[in-house]
Amino acid sequence: MSMENVYLGIVLAPLLGAIVAGLFGQQIGRAGAHWVTILGVAISFLLGLLVFKDVVFDGAAIYNNTVYTWLASDGVRFEIGFLIDQLTALMILIVTFVSLIVHIYTIGYMRDDPGYQRFFSYISLFTFSMLMLVMANNFVQLFFGWEAVGLVSYLLIGFWYMRESAIYANLKAFLVNRVGDLGFLLGIAAVLMYFNSLDYADVFRAAPLLSNLTVAIIPGTEWSVITLICILLFIGAMAKSAQVPLHVWLPDSMEGPTPISALIHAATMVTAGIFMVARMSPLFELSETALSVVLVIGAVTALSMGILGIVQNDIKRVVAYSTLSQLGYMTVALGASAYAAGIFHLMTHAFFKALLFLAAGSVIIALHHEQDIRKMGGLRKYMPVTYACMLIGSLALIGVPGFAGFFSKDAIIEAVSHAEIAGAGFAYICVLIGVFVTAFYSFRMFFLVFHGKERMEAHARMHLHESPAVITVPLILLAIPSVVAGYYIGPLLFDGFFADSIKVAPEHDVLARVGEHFTGALGFIGHGLAGPAVYLAAAGVAAAWYFYLQRPDIPPKLAASAGWLYRLLDRKYYADDINEFVFAAGGRRLGRALWKVGDATLIDGVMVNGTANSIGRVSRLIRQVQTGYLYHYAFAMIVGLLLLLSWFVVS
C-alpha cells in the first residue's frame, strides 16, 4: 500500500463510519453504529501509527501533494491535499488516540440515550474534519476543516436539542466562532493577495521576501503586511481556541454531552488554533508585533480564566475554565516562539484534560446527571478507579513533578522567562500566578467531589457505585499517557523533533536557551524543583485543602465580605452580559429599527407610496383641467398658440 492510500485511509475511514452510522443508524442498530465508527477510528489510529513511524523513525521525506483540484480561478488553484510532516504525524496520533478512547467511553456514557447512533455519527464526522484540518497542505482546506469541526461542535453542543440552554449555547458558540472565522478568512484573503497562492509551501517560501512590505489599511498609516496577515489569522485562532475576548462560548459549550466536552472542547478542536499558529510559524516569526499580541492575549487568558475556575460550582465548568486557562498557556508558548512547547503542552493537555472530563463524566452518571460539586463529596470510597484517575489527571494538570503536565507547563514557563519581546515580562508573571490558581481550583474541585462530607441526597447515595469497565478502562488508558507522555520532553523539544515543520528565528529561539541546561527528563525535574512554579502549585493545593476541607466555613464569608469581587467573578467579568446587551440585543434592535424606519417608513412610505400618492395628486390636478367645456379647451389652445408664436418671434 502506497503512503498516499494510507493518508486517504486515515481521513476516509472515520468519514465512512460517520456516513454509515448517520444515514443507516436505524438499520444497523446501536451496536452496529458503535462498531462501525469505532472500527473507522481504530483504522485511522493504526494507520496514524504507521505514518508516525514512517515520518519520525524512518525519516521519510515530507509528503506534500494534491488529492484533487477543488476550484481554479484567476490562475490560482485551490486544492485539497495533504502535507505530512512531523507536526502532522504527531497531531494525527493525538486526534485519533483521544477520539478512539472517547468512542469507547461513549458506549457506556450514552447507553440510554435515544440519539445513540446520531452521536456516534457526529463524533466520527468530527474526527474526519479534524484530520482534514491537521493534514491540510493549504489554507483553503485548513479553513474547510476549521469550519467543519465548528459545525460538528455546533451540532454536538446542541445534541440535546430539547434543552433551551443547549440550543442557546450552540448558537452562541457558532456565532462567536464566526467572528473569528471572519478574521481568519480575511487573513487568507491577504495571503492570497500578496502570495498569489494558498499553498503552505509556496507561502512559507516567499514569506521572507515580503517582510518589509507595508500596506495602508487606513489611509496614512503603514502596516506591515506580515503583521496584518498574522493578526488576522490569529483572530481566527482566538475564537477556536477560546482566547479572551472570544472565549465566551467555551464554558457554555459544556451543555453538550461529556464525551464531546473531552474530545472536542478540551483535547482536539479547541487546540486547532494552537496548531494553526504553530503551522504558520514561518509567518509569525517575521512579525514581533504579532508575536507580542499572541503572547499578551495568551497570558491574559491563562490567568483571568483560571481565576474564574475558582468560583464555579458545576464540575464540568470548573474543568472548562481550566481548559481555557491551559489554552492560554499554549498561546503564551506560541507568542514566546516556543511553538514546540505549545504543541507539547497541547499533547499532554489532550491526555490529562480528556481524562479529567471523562472522569467528571463518570462522576456525573454515577450521580444521575448531578453536576453541582456542592452536592457531592466523599466519593472516594464509592468510586476508587475514577478517584485515582481524577487524581492523576489533577496532578498532571497542576504540574506536579513527574507528571506529564509538569514537563510541558514548566517548559513554557521557562521559555517565557527567556523571551525578550514586548509583553514577555507581563506574560511571565501571569503564567506563574496561574500555576497557583490552577492548583487551587483543581484541588478545590477534587476535594469537594471526592473528600469531605457526603452532601448528595440519600437516594443518590444508595445507588452510588463505580462506573462499568467501558468507562473506567478508557480512564486508565488516558491516565497512563498523563504520566508518561512528559518524559518525551527531550526528544520533542530539544532534539529537533519538529525539524522543518516549525520554524523559529534564531533570535527568538527561547527553547534552545532552555535546552542549554537540559540533561534529560530527571534533570528537568531537578531544575524545576529549583524554580518557583512547583512551590506555587503546592501552595495552591494546600490552600484548597485548608479552605475546603479544614475550614469550609471561610469561603462563603470571604465571598460575602468581598462582594463586588465575588460578583465580578461570578458574572465572569460581565463578558456575557456585555455581549448579550451590546451585540445580541443591539443587533436585533438595530435590525428592527432599519426595518421599520428604513424599509417601511422611508423606502415604502416616502419613496414608493409617496411616488404613487404624488402621481395621484398630480392626476387629480390634471383632472381639474379636463372640464368638458369646449370653450375651455379652445381658450387653452389660443393661449398656447400665442405663447408659441411669441417665443418664435423673440428668438
Partner: protein, 505 residues
C-alpha cells in the same frame, strides 16, 4: 449530430408547448392527465438542456448553439439565440428547478392545477428565452412576457394580500423595464442593429454611456433586487405560493444580475468603471443593512427574502470590484475571481434559497403559518425534514462543503484585493448571516415541542424527500467540487473582463 439540433429553441418552446397542452388537458376541471403532462414536459426540457453542458466548448468565449432567423427585417430584428459560459448554468438551473416545482406542487395545488402547472412551464420557456436571446428586442419581449405568468401565479394562488403584492411586483419591475427599452432603442440608433453582440462593439461617448448605464441600472437593480429598490421582494415572496417563491428566488432574481454582465459591463465599460463605487456601495449596504433587517423578521418567508437580497449583494459586489483591482494591477488577471464568484453565487443562491422556500412550503402545507413563533421543536416530529432544513440553513450561512461557501469565498477574496474594507464589510455576512439563519433554525427546528400543531406534524413524504434530496445533493456536490461549474465560465469571463476594461470613448 446532436449539436446541430436547435437545442436553445427546444428549451424555450418545448415547455411553452407543454404549458399549452396542459391547459388544454385541464379544460373543464382538472383532468387526471394534467400533472403527468406537465411533469413529462418539464423532465423532457431538462433532458433537452443537458447537452448544453455536455457539448459545451469551454475553450472559446464565442456564443455557442447559435440560431438566427430574420424576424422583423425592416428593423433588422432577428430571432437570434446563443449561449456562453455565463448563461448555460442559468438555463440548466431553470430547467432543473421547473421539474422540482412541478413535483412540489403535485398534491398541494388543488385549485386550477392545470393553469398553475401551465404557468410554470410557460414561464420556464420565457426565462430560458431571456438567458438565450442575443437580440435585444427578443430579449425584451421575453423579459416582459416572463412577468405575466409570475404576476398570475402570485395573483391567483397567492396569500391574502396577493393583489397588493402582485401589483407592487409588476409595477416595480415594469417601471424599470421602460428605461431598459429606452436604452435599447438608443443603442439601436447608434449601432443600426439590435444584436447584443453589436451593442458590445458600438462606440459611445461618456455622457450617453452614463445615461445608458443608469437606465440599465434601474431596470436590473429592481430585479436583483438592490437596495433601495428591494421592498417589493419580501411582499411578493410572502404572498406567492411556494412554487412562485422558489422560481422567483432561484431564477428571476438572477435575471437582474445577468443583465449586469450581459449589458452593463460590456456595453458601458467606461460608465461602469466610473460609477463602480455606486454599485459597490449599494452592494455593501445590501449585505450589511439587509442582513440586519433579516435579523428582525418574524415571518420565515420574509426572512429568507431578505437573506436573498443580502446574498445577491455579493453577486453585484463581485462583478464590480473588477475595476479597483484593474486600477491597482493594470491587468485583468486577478480580477476574474470576483466575477466568477458572483456567477457561482447566483447558481448557489438559486439552489439554497429555492430549497429554503421549499422547506418553508413543507411546513406551511401542514400548519398554514409562516410565523416563526408558531413553530418550535419541529425536529421532534419531523427529524428527516429537520436534517434537510439544517443542511440548507448551513448552506445559506456559507459553510464550506456546501455551495454557499464557494461564491462568498471567491467574492471576499477578490474584494480584499480591491479594498480591505470592502472585504471586511462583505465578510460581516459570516456573522450576520449565521445569526439570522441559525437563530431562525433554533426557534423553528430545535427546542421542545412548542404547541399541538407541531406535535401533530408528519415527516416528509416520498415526493418531498425527493425534491429536497435532489437539492441537497446539488448543494453538497457544488460545495465539494465546484471546479466543473467554474471551468465552464473561464473563457467567457476572461472575454467579458477584456470588454469591461477596454475603453469605448
Amino acid at each position: 449530430m446532436l449539436s446541430d439540433w436547435p437545442i436553445l429553441s427546444l428549451v424555450i418552446w418545448l415547455p411553452i408547448a407543454g404549458g399549452v397542452l396542459t391547459l388544454l388537458a385541464g379544460r373543464g376541471g382538472d383532468g387526471p392527465a394534467v400533472r403527468p403532462i406537465a411533469l413529462v414536459f418539464a423532465i423532457a426540457t431538462f433532458i433537452a438542456s443537458i447537452p448544453l453542458y455536455t457539448l459545451f466548448d469551454t475553450a472559446t468565449y464565442r456564443m455557442q448553439f447559435t440560431e438566427q432567423v430574420p424576424w422583423i427585417t425592416t428593423f433588422s430584428i432577428n430571432y437570434q439565440l446563443g449561449v456562453d459560459g455565463i448563461s448555460v448554468p442559468l438555463i440548466l438551473l431553470t430547467t432543473f428547478f421547473t421539474v422540482l416545482v412541478v413535483i412540489a406542487g403535485w398534491e398541494v395545488i388543488k385549485y386550477k392545477a392545470a393553469q398553475y402547472m401551465a404557468a410554470f412551464l410557460i414561464m420556464e420557456g420565457l426565462m430560458n428565452g431571456v438567458f438565450a436571446s442575443l437580440d435585444a428586442v427578443l430579449f425584451y419581449v421575453f423579459w416582459e412576457a416572463m412577468l405575466v405568468p409570475m404576476f398570475l401565479i402570485i395573483g391567483i394562488w397567492g396569500g391574502h394580500r396577493r393583489v397588493y403584492a402582485a401589483i407592487k411586483f409588476f409595477l416595480y419591475t415594469f417601471l424599470g423595464s421602460v428605461l431598459l427599452l429606452v436604452a435599447i432603442l438608443y443603442l439601436y440608433f447608434e449601432s443600426g442593429s439590435f444584436s447584443l453582440l453589436d451593442f458590445h462593439d458600438v462606440r459611445l461617448e461618456r455622457v450617453p454611456q452614463i445615461l445608458i448605464f443608469l437606465g440599465f441600472l434601474v431596470a436590473f437593480a429592481v430585479k436583483v433586487p438592490m437596495w433601495p429598490v428591494h421592498t417589493w421582494l419580501p411582499d411578493a415572496h410572502v404572498e406567492a405560493p411556494t412554487g412562485g417563491s422558489v422560481i422567483l428566488a432561484a431564477i428571476m432574481l438572477k435575471m437582474g444580475a445577468y443583465g449586469f454582465v450581459r449589458f452593463m459591463l460590456p456595453i458601458t465599460p467606461d460608465a461602469s468603471s466610473e460609477l463602480d463605487w455606486l454599485i459597490i456601495l449599494l452592494s455593501l449596504i445590501a449585505v450589511v443593512y439587509i442582513a440586519l433587517v433579516a435579523l428582525a423578521q418574524e415571518d420565515m418567508k420574509k426572512l429568507i427574502a431578505y437573506s436573498s437580497i443580502s446574498h445577491m449583494g455579493f453577486v453585484t459586489l463581485g462583478f464590480f470590484v473588477v475595476f479597483s483591482i484593474f486600477e491597482r494591477n493594470h491587468e485583468v488577471a486577478g480580477a476574474a475571481m470576483g466575477v466568477e464568484g458572483g456567477l457561482v453565487q447566483m447558481i448557489s443562491h438559486g439552489f439554497v434559497s429555492g430549497a429554503l422556500f421549499l422547506c418553508v412550503g413543507v411546513m406551511y402545507d401542514r400548519l398554514h403559518s409562516r410565523q416563526i413563533s408558531d413553530y418550535g421543536g419541529v425536529v421532534n416530529t419531523m427529524p428527516v425534514f429537520a436534517s434537510f432544513f439544517v443542511l440548507f440553513a448551513l448552506a445559506n450561512v456559507g459553510l464550506p462543503g456546501t455551495s454557499g461557501f464557494v461564491g462568498e469565498f471567491m467574492v471576499i477574496m477578490s474584494a480584499f484585493k480591491a479594498n480591505f474594507w470592502y472585504a471586511l464589510l462583505a465578510g460581516s455576512t459570516l456573522v450576520l448571516g449565521a445569526a439570522y439563519t441559525l437563530w431562525m433554525v433554533k426557534r423553528v427546528v430545535f427546542g421542545d415541542i412548542a404547541n399541538d400543531g407541531v406535535r401533530e406534524l408528519t415527516d416528509l413524504n416520498g415526493r418531498e424527500t425527493f425534491v429536497l434530496g435532489s437539492l441537497a445533493i446539488a448543494v453538497l456536490l457544488l460545495g465539494v467540487w465546484p471546479a466543473p461549474l467554474v471551468n465552464l465560465m473561464h473563457s467567457s469571463v476572461a472575454h467579458l473582463l477584456e470588454q469591461a476594461v477596454a475603453s469605448k470613448l
